[in-house]
């Protein structure tokens, strides 16, 4: 929070904040209900209306979307969007319990699945339809660890090779340990203002050009296909149509790689690869930091970590740095248009936002 205020070039004051959105699952159960008031307390915003947004892992993306609507409705010089999750201070059993609460309880959980298992099913189906993509999954992990090593805020700074990824123990066949994002603590915050007021705060604002979103059936068993997340597709369609952009306008992507297979799906769902082509695109190096379409330059959920409510907001933080040329060693050259993709559960909710600078 302090970091968000400190990052404002010409300074901003908490008293300018007229509304706030808090993205959090409430992992661990500490303050399940009315967490909005707890944010107001902690952030020195007592009195300011705060709305808590909970869409599992997509909470951040949806909070941004709500904040954008609040800004567009006027009357708010400054709207705060923050996401937070504290995940490491509970016992192992409770952690696994909380990791499972956002999947379909009635059928998937009672069959013995957590998200690793559901994404294992997704990967199984992807392999059945498009051939074994283990090598591409390993490349996703290796590439994102490579990026994370250059991100001081990343959970992991260690590089891993494809061979290490492939040799790791399996968690949910065909996914192994290094195909899964870690359990992390984290928080991120953004300040939004109407474009006409932005120059009061900075000469180089980052614009939110569109925020699309979508939903799908909670359980994958009710969807016609496993290898495509319709919520992501719908969210991207809405965002691109609203902004009037083409896919080729985008300099780099921040996508929701909670499991490596999810990054492959994202490339296809968002319209950057044809169905079944994401593995080839990934193995070609196109999604590396120096490729033609860098993906997850901050390390992604895979290496940066996935503090549930914070993730969607932290993607925008990375975009803010990148578009202003402040990403240091991991700077994507010439980045001026970016996309953030945030998924809740195994594709049950999704938010896609577009950003530009200058």
């Amino acid at each position: 929070m302090d970091g968000a205020f400190a990052s404002v070039d010409r300074g901003a004051d908490r008293r300018d904040v007229s509304e706030a959105f808090l993205a959090t699952l409430g992992f661990g159960g500490h303050q399940i209900g009315n967490a909005a008031a707890a944010l107001a307390e902690e952030a020195g915003l007592v009195g300011v209306p705060v709305t808590r947004v909970e869409n599992a892992c997509a909470s951040g993306g949806f909070a941004l979307r709500s904040a954008l609507a609040a800004v567009s409705a006027g009357a708010s010089p400054l709207v705060l969007v923050t996401g937070v999750e504290k995940m490491t201070d509970v016992t192992n059993a409770r952690r696994r319990y909380w990791l499972g609460v956002s999947g379909d309880t009635e059928w998937e959980r009672s069959a013995g699945l957590t998200f690793a298992g559901v994404y294992g099913l997704v990967a199984s189906r992807y392999f059945a339809e498009h051939g074994d993509a283990s090598e591409a999954l390993a490349e996703v992990a290796s590439k994102n660890h490579e990026n994370g090593a250059l991100n001081p805020n990343a959970h992991f700074h260690r590089r891993v090779t494809r061979a290490e990824v492939l040799a790791a123990p399996r968690v949910a066949r065909p996914l192994g340990l290094f195909d899964c994002c870690p359990v992390s603590d984290g928080a991120a915050a953004l300040l939004l203002s109407p474009p006409e007021l932005a120059h009061r705060f900075t000469d180089t604002p980052v614009y939110v050009d569109a925020a699309g979103a979508g939903t799908d059936f909670l359980a994958v068993q009710e969807r016609p296909e496993l290898t495509r997340f319709r919520a992501s597709h719908r969210a991207a369609h809405e965002a691109f149509r609203s902004a009037g952009w083409n896919r080729s306008d985008v300099s780099f992507l921040e996508v929701h790689d909670c499991f490596t297979i999810a990054e492959l799906l994202a490339l296809e769902d968002l319209g950057f690869a044809a169905p079944g082509e994401a593995p080839r695109m990934t193995l070609s190096g196109a999604t590396r930091r120096d490729g033609r379409l860098p993906v997850n330059p901050d390390g992604g959920l895979k290496a940066k970590g996935h503090p549930i409510g914070a993730t969607g907001v932290s993607q925008v933080y990375e975009i803010f740095l990148q578009l202003r040329g402040q990403a240091g060693l991991r700077q994507v050259a010439g980045a001026d248009h970016a996309l953030a993709h945030n998924v809740g559960g195994a594709g049950a909710t999704a938010a896609v936002s577009l950003f530009s600078v200058g």
Partner: protein, 355 residues
């Protein structure tokens, strides 16, 4: 008067070590349920209650479980699981008037070994179910062949045969297709497994309250779906509203066949990847497979896989489903269907009818 018109047996697959391990998700109720649904298979008799007489030691679920399984009002009566009680029950029901009746016997106590397993709360070795329907023509029941290699069923048949007196019909009972020597699931069970009815493991929050569990049993146990007369799409699981057009006044219930599914996707959940409700299962028998299975009408269901070593099932394989224990919750076992490979679904095949 009623006559036995059909008999079906269910003998758990005991052919491999792994099947025996996975059989820990069996209990006397799941055995009886499988035999009952086989003997009732395809029957859509006139409305009215079905009398179910259950012989053996059962958990409390037996009092209401058959109604949920058959989707019919049932009147459940019970007696101890002995062959003489079975013969008595059949005799009384055969002479009686009224609608259809099912007699199901599990874990008959004539064999000392199965008595032991019953006392320990472990699944018995076999279940046999008899369907009795009102008929004017059939002569009284006479038992014929017995099941090879399965002492429990064999004991039933031996006893019943000795008590039969020169009737005119021969009834074939049991698992004769599999032949002798398939081994005993009980003998193959490894030592040290957690087979206790440990019902203390209760999750919190993301659990299914008992009322909701009961409400959804038609979809979970009978694969109840709904066809919308307005848009012709099918909704499964049943949710009393069309998942396509949202209408609630145009739905016709339909039960999807519980056999003949096809694997769309499958994963192996390793230790640490399971929800906490499955901790005891993982500690006892290790990793398990979960499959997305396509049923009729393109409907899909997520099912745990049992009776086969994890990692064996593949996309495209055909599976049947059987009622099994899922996990303990709120002091009782929750039951639901699991997928089994077609080749190991116990004594399969159509229920035999008398010659």
């Amino acid at each position: 008067m009623r006559r036995v018109v059909r008999v079906a047996a269910y003998v758990p697959a005991g052919a491999s070590n792994w099947a025996a391990v996975a059989a820990s998700d069996e209990d006397s109720f799941t055995l009886a349920a499988t035999a009952v649904e086989r003997v009732w298979s395809g029957r859509r008799a006139e409305p009215g209650p079905i009398l179910v007489h259950a012989l053996g030691d059962f958990p409390e679920v037996v009092e209401w479980g058959f109604a949920a399984l058959l989707g019919r009002e049932t009147v459940v009566t019970r007696s101890p699981g002995t062959a003489s009680q079975l013969a008595k029950a059949l005799e009384e029901l055969e002479g009686g008037e009224g609608g259809p009746a099912i007699v199901v016997a599990v874990d008959l106590a004539e064999t000392s070994a199965s008595r032991t397993s019953s006392k320990s709360g472990i699944a018995g070795d076999a279940a046999v179910a008899f369907l009795l329907e009102p008929t004017e023509s059939a002569a009284p029941l006479l038992f014929g062949k017995h099941a090879a290699g399965r002492s429990a069923v064999a004991a039933t048949v031996r006893r019943a045969r000795s008590e039969a007196a020169g009737g005119s019909r021969i009834m074939f009972v049991g698992d004769w297709d599999r032949g002798a020597g398939v081994g005993s699931a009980r003998e193959a069970k490894p030592a040290g497994r957690d087979r206790s009815d440990n019902l203390g493991t209760v999750s919190e929050g993301a659990y299914i309250p008992r009322a909701r569990y009961l409400e959804n049993l038609p979809s979970r146990w009978r694969f109840l779906a709904e066809v919308c007369e307005a848009c012709h799409r099918t909704t499964f699981p049943s949710r009393r509203v069309c998942r396509n057009c949202g209408r609630a006044d145009s739905l016709t219930p339909v039960e999807l066949p519980y056999n003949g599914g096809r694997v769309v996707a499958v994963t192996t959940v390793s230790a640490g990847g399971q929800p906490t409700e499955f901790d005891a299962q993982v500690a006892g028998s290790g990793p398990y497979d979960v499959a997305l299975v396509e049923l009729a009408r393109g409907m899909r269901v997520t099912l745990q896989v049992t009776d086969i070593a994890p990692g064996t099932l593949a996309v495209g394989d055909h599976v049947d489903t059987l009622l099994r224990r899922l996990y303990p919750m709120e002091g009782e076992w929750r039951y639901g269907r699991k997928a089994v490979p077609v080749s190991t679904a116990g004594s399969r095949g159509p229920a035999k009818t008398p010659a």
